[in-house]
Structure formats: structure tokens, C-alpha cells
Symmetry: C2
Subunit: 259 residues, 2 copies
């Protein structure tokens, strides 16, 4: 197993940006950034002292690792347009199977960091779980060692498990954020600033670090307080969408705790 030092990054979105800068800051060389847009490729390339191109055929073939970090939709077409022979190639998606890369190289895998990313606020990877998969033990070791440069939490996770983790993450992150958005929307109608909810939101998240969601569940549905549920549905009468969400989630909480 050879150590991975030189990396080509295909993609310049949120995940690609966070990974590229973190590897760069931890002694790895990003030698090239490839992106459909020369502009965004250049922005990222400049941050990590890399060259850049918007032409996949200009890919630098001298790297130790190729990271495909693009939208799920685009992975298959990029994978099929590349022939990396025996060069190690990985994608970073939670929901795409490892086998999408089987015709791209004889050595392939997955490097999926379980976090929500933005270009504006870079994350510290130290505690972020990396889900690793590879087509053989050697590649699995190489990817694990590389992820270990960034994080203390590196796990071997197969494609089926990874899909389920990604689905769970949609609830824990995407849908949770949408609950915040609905809350903000509800407050807006009364011209109340969303700020008032921030301590509550932070505490709700911190509660599950030392406890379990079952033990920290509170609220009208948990108490089976039908009178309050009715009052809330009346408050939501002009917003059928939020009313439906309130109804369905409350019903599910009731089923969970009062059956």
C-alpha cells in the first residue's frame, strides 16, 4: 500500500471545497481541481495552490487519488467518461453505490463524510464520521489512512448501510432544518424575530449528545394534550401545508408514546 499524497479533485461544491482545503491544510497536495465551471474551479484551486481545468480530458494522470465530489446525478457520467486504469478513485456520496466506479479503475472506493457542508463556513473534520468503502482490503486501508489525517472517526460502511445512514441524515439534518424554517415562517407572521428560538434549538440538539431522542421528547403530542393540539391546528388554519405536517408528525408521536 502506497501512501496517498497527490490528489486530483473533481468538483468544486460544498463537499469538494471542505475536503480540498482540509487535505491541503493537513500536508496533502491537491494537484488539480476539475469543475464544469472554470470560475469555481479557479476559486477552489487558488485556495489550495492547485492547477485547474474545466475539461475532464485534461485530467492530470499522475495523482495517487482521484476524488469525485459532485452532485449524485453527475457521478455516473463522470465515472464513465474517465479511464484511470489502476489509479485509486473514490466518490463522496451518501447514496450512490460503490459499483458506479467499477469501470473507471481497477481500484476504487467511497469516502463519505457525514456532515452538512457550506463553502462559507469550513468545518473542522476532527469529529466528523467518515464512511469508507473500497473494492479490496488494500484500497480500504489506503482510504482509511487518508481519512485518518482529517478525522478520528473513520468507519468501514458498505453501500447498503451507507444508504440507510444517508436516509437517517435526511431526517436528522434536512428535515430538522425545515422544522426551523417553518418555525421562522410562523413567527414572521407576527413580526417576531427568529432569534428568540435559537437557545431552544441549540439545547434541543445538545440534549441528544448525552441522552436519547426517546428520553428528550417533549411537547403536546408526547403529553397527549389534545386540547393544545387543537389550538395549534386552529392557529395553522390558513396554512394547510404546515397544518398537515403538524398533524402527521403529532399522530406519529402519539402512536410512538401512547400505544
Amino acid at each position: 500500500m502506497n501512501e496517498i499524497n497527490n490528489i486530483v479533485l473533481i468538483g468544486s461544491g460544498n463537499v469538494a471545497t471542505n475536503l480540498a482545503i482540509a487535505f491541503h491544510n493537513n500536508g496533502k497536495n491537491i494537484i488539480q481541481v476539475i469543475s464544469r465551471s472554470n470560475d469555481t474551479a479557479k476559486i477552489l484551486a487558488d485556495k489550495v495552490s492547485a492547477t485547474y481545468t474545466n475539461t475532464i480530458n485534461d485530467i492530470n494522470l499522475k495523482a495517487d487519488l482521484y476524488i469525485i465530489s459532485v452532485n449524485d446525478d453527475a457521478i455516473a457520467s463522470i465515472a464513465s467518461s474517465l479511464n484511470l486504469e489502476n489509479k485509486l478513485v473514490v466518490h463522496t456520496s451518501g447514496s450512490i453505490e460503490i459499483d458506479v466506479l467499477k469501470n473507471t479503475s481497477t481500484n476504487y472506493g467511497v469516502l463519505y463524510p457525514l456532515q452538512t457542508f457550506s463553502k462559507e463556513t469550513l468545518v473542522d473534520f476532527k469529529n466528523i464520521p467518515f464512511c469508507i468503502e473500497a473494492n479490496n482490503l488494500n484500497n480500504s486501508k489506503a482510504i482509511t489512512e487518508l481519512a485518518g489525517y482529517l478525522s478520528e472517526d473513520v468507519r468501514l460502511i458498505n453501500s447498503n448501510e451507507r444508504k440507510v445512514i444517508h436516509l437517517a441524515a435526511v431526517f436528522a439534518c434536512n428535515f430538522t432544518n425545515y422544522m426551523y424554517l417553518i418555525a421562522e415562517d410562523i413567527l414572521k407572521e407576527q413580526s417576531i424575530s427568529f432569534d428568540i428560538l435559537k437557545p431552544l434549538i441549540l439545547k434541543t440538539a445538545k440534549n441528544i449528545v448525552d441522552s436519547k431522542p426517546e428520553n428528550t421528547q417533549t411537547g403536546p403530542a408526547k403529553r397527549n394534550d389534545q386540547k393544545l393540539i387543537e389550538k395549534h391546528l386552529t392557529l395553522l388554519k390558513d396554512n394547510p401545508e404546515y397544518k398537515e405536517i403538524y398533524t402527521i408528525i403529532s399522530k406519529s408521536i402519539l402512536n410512538k408514546f401512547h400505544k
Copy 2:
């Protein structure tokens, strides 16, 4: 306006416990704890050097303030069983109107701390918003001053606004916690520990401190990734309840961002 020093607490639940201990630690005297159960009354009373009783008629009439901190359902009956003449009385509920106290005393109000509480982990009130309402300016000043002993964020909020804030809090806290619970449930079926989601959950909450939920929304519905949404619904095929929640929330996210 007289300063409030001596407090009788009616209730010994999560909110009552957190308030009593915080006031006690900030130089106020909890002189009595009243609760339906002598046992739980004693547990709290011992923590704040107070007397206790389970008999509402044994209420100590020499306090400056009476805090009714019980389940929403029980507030009205306690309020109607008390005659406090001109003694200041407040309740701590997000969803009950101030007028529930109008026959209990000539001086009344609301002291609603916007947070999720447990007896096990006491909160630091410093940044927790207190929503204050009172039947006159004098009482409003007195309650505001008192809340100021615990928190730097004290706001005058009327009953209508408070109800809306409480509804928003159900989404931001109770439903959010339920999203965590669903995520845990989904992982359990694959014997994957919920721990793997904790960094993601904390980051999702922290994201809204410096940004807005609209800007931090991510995920398949936000990207209008129908292929992935279909895959997720297939994974949820044996759980119609979670499948319905996934469908309804995704539909609402799509409407919000793609209309």
C-alpha cells in the same frame, strides 16, 4: 413597585424545578413548594431550603410572588381554587392566556421561559428568552426585574404572540427531536449506532445561529432530486408512517424552493 424576594412555587415539574433552583441560586427565597405529590414537593423543597405541602389550602400567604408552574390542563383549576387578593401571581405556560388568573388576584401576569427543561440537567438561564406579560405596568416592571436576575433576554410578549411563539417552538424543538428519533429508528434496523449522527445534528443546529434556515436548507428535496427521493421512499416501504412524514415534508420543501 416592591422588589420580589419571597416566592411560593406551585408545581415541582421540569420548569418549576429549573426556576426554583435558579432563583434560589440568585439570592431569592423560595419559601414554599406546593405539589400534588408530597414526595416530589419535598425533593424540590429540599434543594432550595423551602417548606413544602401537597395541600393548596396550606399555601403561605406571606410571599411577594406566586408562580404556578404546572401542566397547562391544571392551571385553570388551581387558579380558581386560590384567592390571593392583591398578591402577584404568574403562570409559566406558553399557551395559556394571562386572563386565566384574573379571578385569582388583582395583580397577575405570565413568566414564560422559552426553553426545553428536564430535572436532570439544569439549564443556565442567562441567554434564555423570558416572555413577560402582566395585567398592568407596575406588575410588568416587577416581573421583568425578577426575570432579569436570571436572564439577559427579557421581552414583553402578549398572549397572542406567546401562543404563536409556543407553536413555533413545537416545530423547532418537539418535532425536531422527533426527526432525531426517526433517524435513530432507521439506523437501528441496520444495527448502526445513533452516535454517527451526533456531529451532523449539532452542526445543523449551530448553522442557524449565524445564518437563516432558508440559507442552510440542503438535501434531496431542496435539490429537487426526484431519483433519490424515490430511493428513500423505497427504503421506507415497510414503515408507512415514516414514509408519509418523508413525503409530506419533502413536498413542502419542494413547494418552498421550486415554485
